[in-house]
Symmetry: C2
Subunit: 321 residues, 2 copies
Amino acid sequence: MRIVVLAGGIGGARFLRGLQRASPDADITVIGNTGDDIHLFGLKVCPDLDTVMYTLGGGINEEQGWGRTDETFHLKEELAAYGVGPEWFGLGDRDFATHIVRTQMLSAGYPLSAVTEALCDRWKPGVRLIPMSDDRVETHVAVTLPDSGERKVIHFQEYWVRLRASVPAEAVVPVGAEQAKPAPGVLEAIAEADVILFPPSNPVVSIGTILAVPGIREAIADAGVPVVGLSPIVGDAPVRGMADKVLAAVGVESTAAAVAEHYGSGLLDGWLVDTVDGSTVERVEAAGIRCRAVPLLMSDLDAAARMAHEALTLAEEVRGA
Amino acid sequence: MRIVVLAGGIGGARFLRGLQRASPDADITVIGNTGDDIHLFGLKVCPDLDTVMYTLGGGINEEQGWGRTDETFHLKEELAAYGVGPEWFGLGDRDFATHIVRTQMLSAGYPLSAVTEALCDRWKPGVRLIPMSDDRVETHVAVTLPDSGERKVIHFQEYWVRLRASVPAEAVVPVGAEQAKPAPGVLEAIAEADVILFPPSNPVVSIGTILAVPGIREAIADAGVPVVGLSPIVGDAPVRGMADKVLAAVGVESTAAAVAEHYGSGLLDGWLVDTVDGSTVERVEAAGIRCRAVPLLMSDLDAAARMAHEALTLAEEVRGA
């Protein structure tokens, strides 16, 4: 079975690990969000791609969900001693190697997709990981700074990591997305997929950004195979992260049903909500999307595998309907 | 007193520390060799400049004489895990920060001299450290590989660090030196100096490279102030490093007297040889260079300070003559 998964960072990566457990023989292609990419210290950093790669490759810091295991931060300490920031972005000594190799390959002329493939040669994540695009896309967020009242457009990472989404996101713009082309292999994988899954990743800044690359949304809608998503909102709050902060910016309420409606029945065939949101199933189905209520807390690998299994089961229901 | 010192790496740096002890009120300008600079992992690495900066700034690994104290090598381990080399060049996690800051500033358009000044803002070495040139100069070495018999031109660092100078250097070429211009401040410092010193640095690949930048040798010869050097060869062998290997390439025998004659009386006014080379004093003086035999082993800071004191004393003798 060929499965295509659109993935952001931690939520997508943990879901993928469950999917591998639930469907060990599946041929999985991951289309990774690159809207959170950032240039730091002259290096190209791709947090979501790396989180997927490290998580599936056994190199992730399990506790924090991002960055490397057995990590030190000496380089960052030294940069700070030189007065070179930002200090709010946590790059460890081991993690730096990934960004150095990536930047060197990009400088040598390789596209990001080829670089990602080369990095995965080491990590062997067991999936084919493709960035959504080889073109530069950077998600920016419009905010009003509480101290000065100044309206400012900042990089998503500055909003997410530095400000911890502590001020409302007034707008979320994937800068460059309109001009971006899907990376080689993205449209082909979608066209050849048997199932397409949206893990419980952020619907705005992760999956939404991938869908903002012209051609990807259309390819998914036209693929003629079940498209099933899992709600990142459980009981009106994000399972992790701060998805509610950016949902407000696109006028979507922070509920499982509203996120399904946001994707829409033109794109989504099936939707899993958590059991605590069982009462919302009817509303989602009224929107033309088949819906089931199942446990959606990825407390461990088994739970993630059960969620993946439920998603694949719903996909088969959709296919049989 | 204004002192100008031409410096390579370890020998130059340790001598400078002695000079600061011997002449605490002197205004010292160091013209640093950049011929051993190398691009590694997309980063600009300046080993000699950094050795001077770290040594005088208190950040050096005292035992090995280069690199940072309290160092880890996690980034390098990870690069190796990606299959990215070279593995033979020892860049530590803390050291990497210097190269990242430097590379970022160079990419932003700052010349190396301005970058070096910015890095020294942190380290406060107590001297003004200027690279010999803002232009790229890279010392290359022609060798015949023993296995294949292949004649090959390799970067100095590959010859020195990887091959440990284990094959004869057939030629030593400071590529780019002929087109290089002295960095801002170099000629001015020489013109305003009261004394110019050549520490016991490598006469070919350190001081020789600095002198290969058009204008520097002439400025020193024309400065009209005492120019005094210290022999890096003691008892027909280099005090440290492998100076003899590269001296052969320029047709100079590995003796204290031969090195003095190599510099020549047109450049050098005074020369210190070690007490074990006392018998050579006459030969050096016959070449028109005032010569004294004093202990030249920099076993500790006191010994380095005594050597610096002897050099300054000889400079005053030259001036009074």
